[in-house]
Symmetry: C2
Amino acid sequence: MKSLEANKAEYERLIEVFKAHDIGYFFYNGGGDSADTCLKVSQLSESMGYPIQAIHVPKTVDNDLPVTDNCPGFGSVAKYIAVSTMEASFDVASMCATSTKIFVLEVMGRHAGWIAAAGGLVDDSIPVVILFPEIDFDEAKFLAKVDANVKEFGYCTIVVSEGTKWPDGRFLAEQGTRDDFGHAQLGGAAPVVANLIKDALGYKYHWAVADYLQRSARHLASESDVEQAYALGEAAVNMALEGKNSVMPAIIRTSNNPYTWEIGSGELKDIANVEKMMPMDYISDDGFGITDACREYLQPLIEGENYPPYKNGLPDYVVMKKEMVEKKLPSFEV
Amino acid sequence: MKSLEANKAEYERLIEVFKAHDIGYFFYNGGGDSADTCLKVSQLSESMGYPIQAIHVPKTVDNDLPVTDNCPGFGSVAKYIAVSTMEASFDVASMCATSTKIFVLEVMGRHAGWIAAAGGLVDDSIPVVILFPEIDFDEAKFLAKVDANVKEFGYCTIVVSEGTKWPDGRFLAEQGTRDDFGHAQLGGAAPVVANLIKDALGYKYHWAVADYLQRSARHLASESDVEQAYALGEAAVNMALEGKNSVMPAIIRTSNNPYTWEIGSGELKDIANVEKMMPMDYISDDGFGITDACREYLQPLIEGENYPPYKNGLPDYVVMKKEMVEKKLPSFEV
């Protein structure tokens, strides 16, 4: 939601509903925007004299919340991207002598390259070029790098973030073309990159856009991620029972290798509207890969496999019933 | 390779190489084109008086070889598409009240809708509309179906085959647009479908193109598929040892439910250049879904999970060393 001033009636209604149903704990699960809403609910409850304990529970594949080592959801997306990059690369490698030499995988991350960085977790027998949103796209340098990989390895895999931009600030995904009806064609960054390579170097390509597949792929969850998600949920409940308010439980990393961590916490005022960007020393000097420091950070987050139960060949996921409690207040019109 | 006449020198060289290395068995693993090459090698060996036993081992995600119940590789792709359709649908369902209502997943299959059909394996609590290459795209009927799903379920998932065509025969993926340099924009069928919906119905969308991810996803292999792949490989070796030639081992289905099968075989002359299309009674009357007959056929092929071993969070796949034997013949120039 927007600011308290702009949405005062909605926020007040929230508190009224809490009051009517005798709700004292408010848990909000999400990223930076949710943390901000959670903070506002807590502030308003104070100013309205109704005691709500607002606890934010971190969860975002963007991995951009401060204080916490990482955000639940991210480790599993990173695992999905690393595994997919590896598997598709083997596919291309098997045919590259006589056919497709280029594979482009577009991944999420409009502002930060955390997800794209996961493509760098494959071992160095696989030539991967990463395009980060943090680094202006340098076409000539990129094409030279791709060509060098094809000449050395026979093929090249490119992991491109949806947020990668030209030096003038336009997204690669903005093709600037229109169809017969004058509609802008939104084609994704992957086909743009693939076509640039084809035009300049003549290599045959394939491309994929993972989109929601990457963030919903519970079938390939990281055990580390699942374990931390449960631990943070439990910690949130305990913090509520301890009377805490306007806080978020967090993962505090205590060692890289072996990876050890403990539960800590942060104040929402230090978390709301703060985006944790990828440190520049996580990106290699040429701008197309990850450094050892980045690998040390990411590696533990994809460790372990946590498979769902299956039924008839498909995951047997729990679906919430979402039964509404009886309404106690008159209807509210926005 | 092309016909014996067009590539006579290459085929003869093959036989010469076999002779020089005392090779008597030729196993060729692939789809319809490979079966054809395998048949030609067998014919030529006969006409050149050098006895080669040519055995074709079926393997193609296109699932279009005759004689065999299905083709190794297909069951795992079908599982990947069914699981991905399910997972992404849950993602959309969770947000559809206030945000994205449409998810479009583009899948492989330029000629036949076998892979697209797998999107219909999710249970009917998930609204899926399938666009098959076998059915001319009827825009008005499609939009009405999507709109009805959004009104009933709150969202709609579309699985579109890369081979889906307009009534005039053009692929949906051909956008007919060019960039600033006059290059044709190849954007895939998914963004075209997504934009059609947005323009006509105003619904917010996301789209994905699975491309190689779907056919290289060994991490999500179907146990049934893996079991049959090994069984066919073993059968091919046994057929060679029994002196067979110009044949292909095949899966013969003996019962749907419970699914039972045995190893049979076919003659390459009945297999080469024969494409097994999807029976029309596998596609529902409205053209947007699968029938019970199709579900009975597909369901056993995605049963069971066969996970690879993992190391450091990534699959520990076997990589062939591909060591060449010493060359015995002088070099050959094409």
